[in-house]
């Protein structure tokens, strides 16, 4: 293995330490990742845009500040010089933002998202923009207008979605960190199927300013990484109040990094959600989930069972609320202020007909389905039965969580019912695709935080399984505390990180999956 190969396999926390100790430079690290992207992204297709020049310039700036020493060097953020990839739903000055849609092909935002401003303030080089299902609508990245991302564990399989690009970039060692967005599981489910870590913070815990909205009451930006501690470090960079997002919580951010470092579950009550495992979950997923429970019990946690009877309505309610909000949010793509404009082939040239032609050509099938479904759910005569009922279900789900958190400090479930499926397998069956999010959706409906971490490989296919932790609103620190303990217990069993078992992607004969080295 070359020196660069070792650099890209380090965690963000380890990179930060070596950078601070001046054992390595930010330019070396950034270049190593750019080289890795050049070597493997042809196969993985995690990136829609690579931002090499700017990333190297930021890295060089960090190196110059460190070399000069003094107050400026001491004031550098702990992650200064640690590169990051950004989901292409989040707007960035100087790079295109497409949302995975033809309607925004080549569009450049005139402003940065708040989270991007915070990355820049921390002087983290931005490697590029990652692939996603169009407008984050999907669970496989197959709905990207720019082609699917491939799962680094098996290139014929989906990397999850919508944030498959961010998860695959991290899993394939093309970035140590990435930003994702999670409306119904788009950070956690890709984390589960790629053997990586992803966190959906408490609703309002991270500013949504500059994230192109799908469903405003469900969307949340969060960290994507290879370790629990790395997610905590990134969460701390992007989290906290932002006056430009009126749903941003005014609460001060907890010390999430300390929670990840002090991990201890002794005496904690961890609740298994009766409705989120068993029937409908793949046997290998269930096995790894049960092993994680045993490990936590061995570490001193008390495992209790909780019931959330209204979770059975969550998926249905989600597929009413999300499309309703999406149909309204996407009305702004009208061929006037930004993006594509398509003129009708014949007939009079009016703005209404231009809009119809533009949106027909610019939106893909899944986006059209959700806009039509949302328009239907919001139409007069159906509003109470659909949107109104779904909002009541939201209340019931919150009450289920409230009752569950009276019995348990943290809840636990598999993140997704299955491991990664084959590309194309569920593309023509929207309902089967929607079922991937059955375990992740309740958290978005209630606004509570959730974390997915790797739980091992399923026996039947050798593919990664995700374990999901859920905490009460504003208690994100508990996720890091429990997640770090479970991660270290699992890694002790495996003899190292799970991603050590993933294919290298650079061998001339790439095994389908499970090859170790």
């Amino acid at each position: 293995m070359t020196e660069n190969n070792e650099l890209i396999r380090l965690s963000a926390a380890a990179l930060a330490e070596k950078l601070a100790a001046r054992e390595i430079t930010a330019v070396e690290v950034t270049q190593a990742y750019l080289d890795r992207i050049a070597a493997v992204d042809g196969k993985v297709h995690a990136f829609l845009h690579v931002n090499a020049d700017e990333a190297l310039a930021v890295a060089a700036e960090v190196d110059a500040i460190r070399a000069a020493g003094g107050a400026a060097a001491e004031e550098l953020h702990v992650l200064a010089g640690v590169p990051i990839a950004v989901k292409d739903l989040i707007v960035t000055i100087g790079q295109p933002t497409t949302a995975g849609s033809k309607i925004l092909e080549g569009w450049h935002s005139p402003y940065d998202a708040t989270v991007v401003e915070r990355l820049r303030a921390a002087k983290m080089p931005i490697l590029g923009k990652t692939n996603l299902d169009e407008f984050a609508m999907g669970s496989s990245t197959e709905h990207s207008a720019y082609g699917p991302t491939h799962n680094p564990w098996d290139l014929d399989r989906i990397p999850g979605g919508s944030g498959g690009g961010s998860a695959a970039a991290v899993a394939a060692f093309e970035a140590p960190l990435a930003l994702g967005t999670d409306t119904g599981g788009s950070i956690r489910q890709p984390g589960a199927v790629t053997g990586t870590v992803g966190v959906k913070p408490t609703y309002g815990g991270v500013s949504r300013y500059g994230a192109i909205a799908m469903a405003s009451s469900l969307d949340q930006i969060g960290p994507v990484s290879r370790t629990v501690l790395d997610s905590a470090l990134l969460h701390q960079v992007i989290g906290g109040h932002d006056p430009r997002d009126s749903t941003s919580l005014p609460d001060p951010l907890e010390d999430l990094v300390a929670a990840a470092r002090t991990g201890n579950v002794e005496g904690m009550k961890i609740g298994i959600i009766k409705e989120l495992h068993g029937e409908g979950y793949q046997a290998g997923v269930e096995n790894r989930f049960n092993e994680s429970l045993e490990l936590l019990k061995g570490a001193g946690a008390e495992i209790v069972e909780v019931s959330c009877p209204n979770f059975k309505y969550a998926l249905g309610a989600y597929y009413l609320i999300m499309p309703s909000e999406a149909s309204s949010n996407l009305a702004k793509f009208d061929g006037v202020r930004y993006g594509l404009r398509v003129l009708p082939e014949q007939g009079p040239l009016t703005i209404e007909r231009v809009m119809g032609a533009t949106r027909a050509a610019g939106f893909g099938d899944e986006v059209k389905r959700r806009i039509i479904l949302g328009t239907y759910a919001l139409s007069a005569g159906y509003y109470d039965a659909y949107y109104g009922s779904a909002q009541k279900v939201r209340t019931l789900i919150q009450r289920d969580f409230d009752a569950a958190f009276e019995k348990a400090d943290v809840l636990i479930s598999p993140t997704a019912p299955t491991t990664a499926f084959k590309l194309g397998e569920k593309l023509n069956d929207p309902l089967a695709m929607y079922l991937n999010d059955v375990a992740t959706i309740p958290a978005n409906m209630a606004g509570v935080p959730g974390l997915s971490l790797p739980g091992g490989l399923a026996d039947e296919d050798g593919l990664p399984v995700g374990i999901q932790l859920l905490a009460p609103a504003r208690q994100d620190a508990r996720l890091y505390r429990v997640g770090a303990v479970l991660e270290s217990l699992l890694e002790a069993q495996w003899g190292g990180p799970l991603l050590d078992k993933a294919p290298s992607l650079t061998d001339s004969a790439v095994s389908s999956h499970g090859g170790s080295h």
């Binding site: 935002s109 005139p110 609703y203 309002g204 597929y319 009305a331 039965a385 279900v393 939201r394 929607y434």
Partner: protein
């Protein structure tokens, strides 16, 4: 609850300003019928006594100081527009001739 048919989809597509071909309408009607059928149970889940939740963590009276904040220049605002003229967005005719 009523099922969704092809005419409904055609009407909704018009409301949503998305032109659809005949094949697209047929396919979409079939797919949406399955989806709508699967979400029907939601209307039976909650009684009249359950209040609706529109935002998971509601905040009220979120105000800011009444001072001019950051604004975009006309050039920035028009930078992504498909068509512009003398510092304004240029659009096709709003009204049909007849």
């Amino acid at each position: 609850m009523a099922a969704i048919n092809r005419d409904d989809v055609a009407h909704l597509a018009q409301l949503a300003h998305i032109e659809m071909s005949a094949e697209e309408l047929d396919r979409m009607a079939g797919e949406l019928a399955v989806i709508v059928d699967s979400v029907k149970s939601v209307s039976e889940a909650a009684g009249d006594d359950v209040p609706a939740t529109s935002h998971p963590i509601p905040l009220t009276n979120v105000f800011r100081e009444d001072v001019v904040g950051h604004t975009f220049t006309a050039e920035q605002s028009l930078s992504g527009a498909p068509d512009a003229y003398e510092g304004r967005f240029k659009v096709p005719a709003i009204l049909d001739e007849d």
